[in-house]
């Protein structure tokens, strides 16, 4: 049984990492990062089966693709705190000569990252490709991916959604971060998403809802269910309902912090709400 307290402590530390990273360079995307902190912690610490070290091909292990690359702070923090690279390197986020680019990339050779992302809508296709390669290699591990809900406005996603169902890519679990926000406002105001469950089901996917997407236990339960549904001839979609900016009260329930860094005072407030647990980098 996973130790929930440990996972929650790590999540708190990850929130601190996110705030400190974006504050230091006065840029980056804290809102979506904070909203997905629990998901990343659960995924990397409990859900995925990964090997020691990192190799690009990811043979005989689960692999993950971040499609909405702008939430790189949470990705980098959890990768570092899962041993992919030194935690101290979080200090270099968005700085010149860093492996921690504004958006994730393979270009600088950062362990843990298998594709560049940032220009939205491309990650599901890539995840499908990796899943098809796993099938050819008789590798029964799973490919996970994460996408923003606003990101689904990019048409390539729907090409991918159609392909995955039509070709029974059932070793793929694509999670949608349903926070209802995007840069210009709520998704309902910018371009309404409609009923995502109905949409994915209509395309032939199995859909799992995680209503409490900022609750570690709920995520573990939902992702375990998703895992159990893999291998049944259908790709699996997880609709992860999260709160953008979760864990920092003034950043929650708004799109305002999508791509804005806190100032010194705001940082202090955010950190005060998330006491150090595992030690700052």
């Amino acid at each position: 049984m996973p130790n929930i307290q440990q996972l929650e402590d790590l999540t708190t530390q990850v929130r601190r990492d996110i705030l400190r990273m974006v504050h230091k360079v006065n840029s980056g995307h804290p809102g979506g990062s904070l909203g997905c902190a629990e998901f990343f912690v659960a995924l990397y610490k409990e859900i995925m089966e990964t090997k020691e070290g990192f190799d690009m091909d990811g043979i005989s292990e689960d692999v993950f693709f971040l499609s909405n690359g702008h939430i790189s702070p949470v990705y980098y923090s959890v990768l570092a705190r899962s041993g992919y690279f030194p935690v101290d390197e979080l200090n270099t986020f968005r700085l010149i000569d860093s492996r921690l680019q504004g958006h994730p990339t393979t270009h600088e050779g950062l362990p843990g990252v298998r594709i560049a992302s940032g220009s939205l809508g491309q990650g599901m296709s890539v995840a499908i490709g990796a899943a098809e390669a796993k099938k050819l290699n008789n590798d029964d591990h799973i490919v996970y991916s994460l996408h923003g809900d606003g990101e689904l406005q990019e048409g390539q996603n729907w090409e991918a959604v159609m392909y995955a169902a039509g070709n029974k890519v059932d070793n793929l679990i694509a999670t949608i971060d349903v926070n209802g926000q995007q840069i210009d406002g709520s998704t309902d105001n910018v371009l309404p998403m409609g009923n995502l469950r109905a949409k994915f089901e209509a395309f032939g996917w199995t859909v799992v809802d995680i209503e409490e997407g900022n609750n570690v236990e709920a995520i573990l339960k939902g992702m375990s269910e998703a895992k159990s549904l893999a291998g049944n001839g259908k790709p699996v979609c997880v609709l992860l309902k999260t709160v953008m900016g979760n864990g920092v009260d003034f950043m929650m329930h708004t799109h305002a912090w999508h791509g804005k860094a806190p100032n010194d005072k705001q940082l202090a407030t955010g950190l005060a709400q998330n006491a150090e647990t595992l030690g700052d980098y």
């Binding site: 690009m56 091909d57 990811g58 043979i59 692999v63 693709f65 990339t105 393979t106 270009h107 298998r114 594709i115 560049a116 992302s117 940032g118 220009s119 809508g121 491309q122 990650g123 599901m124 296709s125 890539v126 995840a127 499908i128 490709g129 990796a130 899943a131 098809e132 390669a133 796993k134 050819l136 290699n137 590798d139 048409g155 390539q156 090409e159 991918a160 159609m162 392909y163 039509g166 070709n167």
Partner: protein, 317 residues
């Protein structure tokens, strides 16, 4: 003057198909993806021989490029096949981020390039693809001239680790390069020796350049014809060595003069040895419907246009 024999007209896309068939038997990591143009790309035989390694993605080119990028993660060598227009312009950002910037070993194989696609007209006749692809860091850009060379290039790019754009065409054209050739990426092939003018050609224009050299020879002009099948990385040395001897150059390609082979050659010359250069290429225009032969004449992409350009280049020496 060295002459070449056309062993019978064949389409370059069939050279790709033949190469892919051979690769399928030779290398089990090779996979092929197609966006609803299997017959046009001559991928049928690969599909028949290796159904488990053939991926029909439907009319969804962006998804195809992304899937290909993902398949490299797991050690596959994906060859994507569709028309040149849909292989480049339509999916530029997917290639840029998921393939080139990510350094993925994807082979983008593009048929029906240029005006020789013919009757379908300008919507399908891309004349900007070499420029688009050569601007991407790390991308190798190849435009083959005949069936045999396209087959050899298809085999060669599977051995090259990194993204490649392989451009070929629709019509049946002269097949004159050796059947058993070894294709060396980035290495120009000198076809004739000459002292008066260098003609550097790529793709379908290589045969036209040979025809032009023959006609020029009869007028007492000696032309050195070089087949530049690889536009990036460009064989700078072959070009510089030749112009050191001839003192002028013609570049010939089935592409817009903006962004094509001609500009790549001009860059090398401007830096190392400024030389009079004439451009045989389309003049910043779209194509139109017509037969391939009619279009080659109308858009100034034939042997006559190369002869004229050669004389103009010589005059500027």
């Amino acid at each position: 003057m060295k002459t070449y024999t056309n062993t019978g007209n064949k389409d370059t896309r069939s050279g790709f198909g033949a190469g892919l068939t051979e690769l399928g038997k030779k290398n089990e990591n090779v996979v092929a993806l197609c966006a609803d143009l299997t017959g046009s790309l001559k991928m049928d035989e690969f599909k028949e021989n290796h159904p488990e390694r053939f991926f029909q993605v439907g009319i969804a080119e962006a998804n195809m490029i992304g899937i290909a990028a993902g398949m490299t993660i797991g050690g596959k060598i994906p060859f994507t096949g569709t028309f040149a227009n849909f292989s480049t312009g339509r999916v530029y950002d997917q290639i840029r981020q998921s393939v080139a910037y990510s350094g993925k070993n994807v082979k983008i194989c593009a048929s029906h390039a240029g005006v020789t696609l013919g009757e379908d007209g300008a919507t399908h006749q891309i004349l900007e693809d070499i420029g688009l692809m050569k601007m991407l860091p790390g991308m190798t850009v190849i435009n083959t001239c005949d069936f045999n060379q396209t087959k050899a290039a298809t085999l060669a790019i599977a051995e090259h680790d990194g993204p490649v754009y392989l451009r070929f065409g629709r019509p049946k054209v002269a097949n004159f390069t050796p059947e058993d050739q070894t294709f060396e990426i980035g290495k120009a092939v000198q076809l004739t020796e000459g002292d008066d003018v260098t003609i550097v050609a790529t793709g379908h224009l290589v045969w036209e350049a040979l025809e032009a050299a023959k006609a020029l020879h009869e007028e007492g002009i000696s032309a050195e014809v070089i087949n530049i099948h690889t536009i990036k990385p460009l064989d700078d040395k072959a070009i510089l060595d030749s112009v050191a001897k001839t003192g002028c150059i013609v570049t010939a390609e089935e592409h817009n003069y903006l962004g094509g082979l001609g500009e790549s050659v001009a860059r090398v010359l401007a830096k190392h040895n400024p030389t009079p250069q004439e451009f045989v290429a389309t003049n910043d225009t779209f194509g139109e419907s017509g037969t391939p032969a009619q279009l080659m004449v109308k858009y100034g992409l034939d042997s006559a246009a190369i002869q004229k350009a050669a004389k103009a280049a010589i005059k500027r020496k």
